[in-house]
Symmetry: C2
Subunit: 321 residues, 2 copies
């Protein structure tokens, strides 16, 4: 029998990442199309279906080679029915995405949220190394999370499982979070949070390298913070310690409850690599139970932006096998 | 076909609770035998097998009516193989419990730890009401936990999942915990923790009802604390608030990650009922995401000491069906 191909789709607010991926998780072809959010995003599923047909023709791949489409979308989703309750960035509201795209593509469609497919991608082909018990934390503009336990992604009672970013790190007097609460770990360990904390303290450290960087660029990035910390700038070191304390404690608490074998740290902030991992590991070791700590490996994600399309393809593979 | 019977066994350090339970989860017969911990607990499996035979004869139940034995044990267990790494209270060390009991009873045996079978029991026949996504927290001498997600009990990478009692509530300067760490939620929300906190503050509140109770009995119980709080004794109210804050925050954080539909509070401390549930719900509402909060029902366990044998019987039912 001819080897089937999986289609991975990762929808973002400005671009849609797409790929043809083989059953071993190798990317055969990948490309982007723009996200057309006009008219409440009604063109998006057409654009995806047409783009798949175009690329299959260009590459001379018979359409019946495709086993199905796996898809990651932002927002509130019913993963079983592929129904989107609400995806603000895309304009979708009460939209039967799965049904619509199946109609337009003629292929079976499987949907999960973007944080979960990133976790599945890292599990399948990335740092997660096929772990059946994995926590993935994505440190970007916000903090996303995906939890795999007993080999399955957890969805919870209404699809909210994995909202690690909204675990409370500072119960009293924490910074306001986009979710409406205060003191969420997202307000501290996201790129946005790190920059906020670093910037707020600059006036107290006028001589710091971080303040000099700010004076040159009139702004800071989380990368600046880690770079200044590696040069032993005290204020930058303090910020990294503070971030590591709260993120490490949150992860250790979750690990005590879930006992993962892999904890994968991804997203833009994770590019700091060992500069983040080392202080994080120290805090984790302090707060995790010995048997939990000994089994859990803390690692940096390895797939970068490809995690989503690979995890989306995995959804298809799991559902057809 | 004749209705099969399930055998539920819940092993404690002093007694073993046993029951014949039908496929609907109704207890047909239950009894206790003492736990013989002499000679590293080598008689325990014999005692269980013999007791099953005795009771089946007495009750005139043909032995082939039994579908199998489900069993909850304390300690570190490999749930798949039923191998006990270590159960200090019973004397077991590197002991193939499942294999041994299957040999002696001639019945299939399924094993999980005691906190997990309590969660399964509450899920099947108690306050959990068949929820596929449930967190069970048992507030007794310690704080135990069991997590059901996607309809399955979570074990994690080496059987440690559900150790909710060792999530850290007080990161710095917390009380020492039996696990070797400090500030675990067990040091605050267990019966032991509540009594410790209440007793430590008595000298500051010489006029309090709680201090008067202490003077009469020369000791306190967690029940005293809740009773004095319900009479609006300020120090007792403060203790209940403090306990609720830390337990409620821990549960809300876990709920943000797992999105349960039921959170079941069991164990001796839960007998306080609404006196505990009301302040706990208030804290939970503050720290849980709105969509998580709206879906999660916080309830008191309803099966008491029967949760274990019923959950153990459920293990058999799930494995044979």
């Amino acid at each position: 029998m001819k080897q089937k191909l999986l289609i991975g789709v990762d929808i973002g607010g400005t671009t849609i990442k797409m790929a043809f991926i083989n059953m071993n998780g190798q990317i055969r072809e990948q490309w982007y199309i723009p996200t057309d959010t006009s008219e409440k995003g009604k063109q998006i599923s057409n654009d995806i279906a047409n783009s798949i047909r175009d690329h299959s023709l260009q590459l001379n791949i018979p359409y019946d080679t495709f086993a199905g489409i796996g898809m990651g979308a932002p927002g509130f989703i019913n993963m079983k029915t592929g129904f989107i309750y609400n995806a603000v960035n895309l304009g979708w509201e009460n939209y039967p995405l799965k049904d619509d795209l199946e109609l337009k593509s003629g292929l079976p469609v499987y949907i999960d949220n973007d944080a979960n497919i990133a976790a599945l991608g890292e599990m399948w082909k990335g740092s997660g190394n096929r772990s059946d018990d994995l926590i993935c934390v994505t440190l970007g503009t916000g903090v996303g999370g995906g939890i795999i336990s007993n080999g399955m992604i957890l969805h919870g009672a209404n699809g909210m499982a994995g909202e690690i970013g909204h675990m409370t790190a500072v119960p009293q007097g924490g910074a306001p979070c986009n979710c409406g609460k205060t003191g969420c770990v997202e307000t501290i360990a996201s790129a946005t949070g790190i920059v906020r904390i670093a910037t707020e303290g600059l006036s107290k450290y006028p001589e710091s390298l971080l303040n000099q960087t700010y004076d040159i660029n009139r702004s800071l990035t989380s990368k600046d913070v880690f770079e200044c910390a590696s040069k032993e700038d005290q204020w930058a070191v303090d910020v990294v310690q503070f971030v590591s304390l709260h993120l490490g404690l949150t992860i250790a608490n979750l690990a005590n409850a879930l006992n993962p074998s892999k904890i994968v740290i991804g997203g833009g902030v994770s590019k700091a690599g060992e500069r983040l991992l080392e202080p994080l590991q120290e805090v984790f070791n302090q707060f995790a139970l010995p048997r939990v700590r000994d089994k859990a490996e803390l690692v940096i994600a390895s797939l970068g932006n490809d995690a989503g399309i690979i995890g989306a393809a995995w959804l298809v593979k799991e559902n057809i096998s």
